[in-house]
């Protein structure tokens, strides 16, 4: 009965309602992919505007004030609203399947996490239409942001606070899922690397987001409720914001890059047809990077005057991270070495990721040397460095992951031909844009500068950089065409479309049944599905007889809880201007949030069971190929 309800064809409104209320990790993954992709495009348009403005000297394509808003929103959007949610999309889509779970540990909280992120991001971006976006840089240093006029920085503080709650919930959810819901036989040291990196990244979220939350709260009270945490005139200390921001900010970099490493660690063995070289050292390196990531934040603040001892300690700690990262790089190379390689689109991204990321890593070690950093600080060298790490690492992983996991998420295969064109354009454009920026920085071009003068040797470099950005944009447009084409044609490719899938996620039928596994699989080693295939089997060995499966009900409360905070944020922000409606709006928003929470707490919702007979029926009808 319940199975029938899920296989029925829905109308458009029905589909929308299904996605508004879904608690299924596979559907939440699609929501994250769409919302993250949308914000990625918005951030990309902002990037293009930056490069147009800087293409020629003395340009006035945008005004200086608008330029500040654009760079702030580009950075904030790309980090918080594009890269992280897109990684969450893959974590949601892949991780529960990889460990042989039927869903995440808290499906309701999973949905709540998504909607909080979405409404936080929406709130932040509405600033464009409501009197100006934040303009104090994505780091929003207190001495600058407290002086920023209008409501821009308020949008930043409240928007990030709301979306940060969502991220924190997502991270905790993944942790509990990985600790408690692994299939029989799936020990920690048999978990695929993407699951491992999800685990460590989630732990980093757990420890890194609270400092950000605290910092944002202090900023919120300083700006909206008259406190003076960062206000030097009132006895505060402006440097504290920098510490809080970077205690969060440096682990944040690893929250982004570790899952990217995980995606590549899945792609290399698949297309080299070899098991991952040095699996246990990869796990060790992942954990070590996560650990060291908390002891290095002050390398962003060498020039604030921490003193030689603090600078030296943080410099050495930072350089130490190159060791586990190097272990990973060598392991990937050894994985490809002697393999039977096929250069599919994901593999192209993976192979080109190695040199790109190493370049970003090397400039990172250069900046870790505190005396040298006094030269690099706030120059375009820094801009080049972190774009090499984030675009050369994370964005390449996201594009690779899209191609690699598309069949898993949608049952269709993106075109390899268009994919290769995207790859060529994006990869060329990326190096064209950012390589030259190292030299622009060394020649003295400051970061976040609105325009530059002719005759200082900066014209050619900036023009090349802008041309490169156009290549990247072209690559993304072709990728979008690829997506639309593929989904319109809708050719279902079935199970294990890459033929060489190694891990559990490729063992389930395509499209995946909503309960994932009819019977939980028995895991007999690393690369569980590959082991079965090598023994001539086509299915996993089940670890349990067919029985009733307990499933959670859909819920609308996550949407309402998040909507309430979204409304309340407007009230909190406009009460500063003594608007008479502001306080009532704040109260109404909070009432919606707490009302939905109360409703959720009082109403008993035990979910439902899929009965054994229905599962057996499913198999007879060929529902599982």
């Amino acid at each position: 009965m319940s199975t029938i309800a899920h296989t029925q064809k829905r109308g458009f409104a029905g589909t929308v309602w299904e996605y508004l209320t879904t608690v299924d990790h596979k559907k939440i993954a699609i929501l994250y992919l769409i919302a993250g992709g949308l914000f990625f495009l918005i951030g990309g348009i902002e990037a293009m505007m930056i490069r147009i403005q800087l293409a020629v000297p003395n340009n006035d394509f945008v005004s200086a004030g608008l330029f500040n808003e654009i760079i702030t929103m580009h950075g904030t959007t790309m980090i918080f609203l594009a890269a992280m949610p897109l990684l969450f999309a893959f974590m949601n889509a892949v991780m529960p399947l990889q460990i042989g779970a039927r869903d995440v540990a808290f499906p309701f909280i999973n949905a709540l996490g998504f909607w909080l992120f979405f409404f936080g991001g929406l709130f932040l971006n509405l600033s464009w239409f409501l009197g100006g976006a934040p303009d104090a840089g994505w780091t929003s240093y207190a001495s600058l942001s407290l002086a920023s006029e209008g409501h821009g920085v308020d949008f930043y503080v409240l928007g990030l606070q709301i979306s940060g709650f969502g991220t924190l919930m997502g991270g905790i959810n993944f942790l509990v899922t990985i600790i408690n819901m692994r299939a029989p036989g799936m020990t920690y040291m048999r978990m695929p690397l993407f699951t491992w990196t999800t685990f460590v990244a989630s732990a980093l979220i757990l420890f890194a987001f609270p400092p950000l939350t605290v910092g944002l709260f202090m900023m919120m009270f300083d700006r909206m409720f008259g406190s003076g945490f960062f206000d030097v005139a009132a006895g505060g200390n402006t440097i504290i914001w920098e510490h809080f921001f970077w205690i969060f900010g440096h682990p944040e970099v690893y929250i982004l890059i570790l899952p990217a490493f995980g995606i590549f660690s899945e792609i290399f063995p698949t297309f080299a047809r070899k098991r991952l070289f040095g699996y246990s050292s990869m796990v060790f390196a992942t954990v070590l990077i996560g650990f060291l990531g908390f002891m290095v934040w002050a390398h962003h603040m060498f020039t604030t005057g921490l003193g030689p001892i603090a600078n030296a300690i943080f410099a050495v700690a930072t350089m130490a991270i190159a060791v586990p990262t190097g272990i990973k790089i060598f392991n990937w190379i050894m994985t490809i070495w002697g393999g039977k390689i096929t250069f599919t689109v994901p593999m192209l991204y993976a192979v080109s990721f190695i040199p790109s990321f190493v370049m970003g890593g090397v400039t990172g070690v250069m900046q870790a040397a505190a005396p040298a950093d006094y030269q690099f600080h706030d120059s375009y060298f820094i801009v080049a460095h972190f774009h090499y790490v984030i675009v050369g690492g994370v964005v390449l992983a996201l594009l690779a992951g899209c191609h690699f996991y598309w069949p898993l998420m949608f049952g269709t295969m993106l075109s390899e031909r268009l994919g290769k064109i995207t790859f060529a354009l994006f990869f060329t454009g990326f190096h064209l844009t950012f390589f030259i920026q190292h030299f622009l920085g060394l020649m003295g071009m400051p970061r976040r500068v609105w325009t530059f003068l002719p005759g200082q040797g900066l014209e050619t470099g900036n023009l090349i950089s802008s041309i490169g950005a156009a290549f990247m944009a072209a690559g993304v447009i072709i990728f979008l065409i690829n997506v639309v084409n593929t989904q319109v044609k809708n050719v279902q490719v079935g199970r294990d479309p890459w033929k060489d899938g190694r891990t559990l996620e490729w063992a389930i039928p395509s499209p995946a049944p909503f309960y994932n596994f009819k019977q939980l699989p028995l895991v007999r080693g690393l690369d569980a599905f590959w082991i079965e295939k090598m023994e001539g089997k086509t299915e996993m060995t089940p670890a349990e007889p067919i029985g009733d499966i307990h499933m959670p009900n859909n819920a609308f409360a996550p949407f309402l809880i998040s909507l309430g905070l979204f409304i309340a944020a407007f009230g909190a922000m406009y009460q500063v201007d003594d608007k008479p409606w502001a306080i009532p709006v704040l109260i109404i928003g909070m009432a919606i949030t707490f009302g939905s929470m109360l409703y959720r707490s009082i109403k008993d919702d035990h979910g439902y069971h899929i009965h054994k007979e229905d599962l057996l029926d499913d198999a007879d009808k060929g529902g599982t190929r």
Partner: protein, 110 residues
């Protein structure tokens, strides 16, 4: 689940064994409880005796840390099997918090 405790009332587990286990645990709890009261008395005594504050503050803080550990491991049963993950995360969290406070004390408010 793995964190079912040995005294969870599973009828298959030998009654005598469970009885002995509970008695052992009870003894440990009484011992730690006595120690905790003793530590509290020590803390008050140290302040009352009027030692230098460079002795009293670290001493009281140390006693407090030991008491927290007792509380967690004996009264909240963290010493039992199946608490490895919570332990790992608690200690990592404490470590990160400690590191943060240490740097704040040394390089911001020096």
């Amino acid at each position: 689940m793995a964190n079912l405790q040995s005294n969870s009332g599973d009828p298959k587990v030998n009654y005598e064994y469970r009885r002995k286990k509970s008695a052992d645990e009870m003894r440990m709890q009484v011992i730690t409880f006595t120690l905790m009261i003793f530590f509290t008395v020590l803390a008050f005594a140290a302040v009352g005796a009027g030692f230098s504050k460079w002795f009293i503050i670290p001493f009281v803080l140390l006693l407090a840390c030991v008491q927290v550990a007792f509380q967690l491991y004996y009264f909240m049963h963290m010493s039992h099997k199946g608490h490895e993950a919570p332990q790992l995360f608690m200690w990592s969290g404490i470590f990160v918090a400690f590191l943060t406070i240490l740097t704040f004390l040394t390089i911001i408010w020096w």
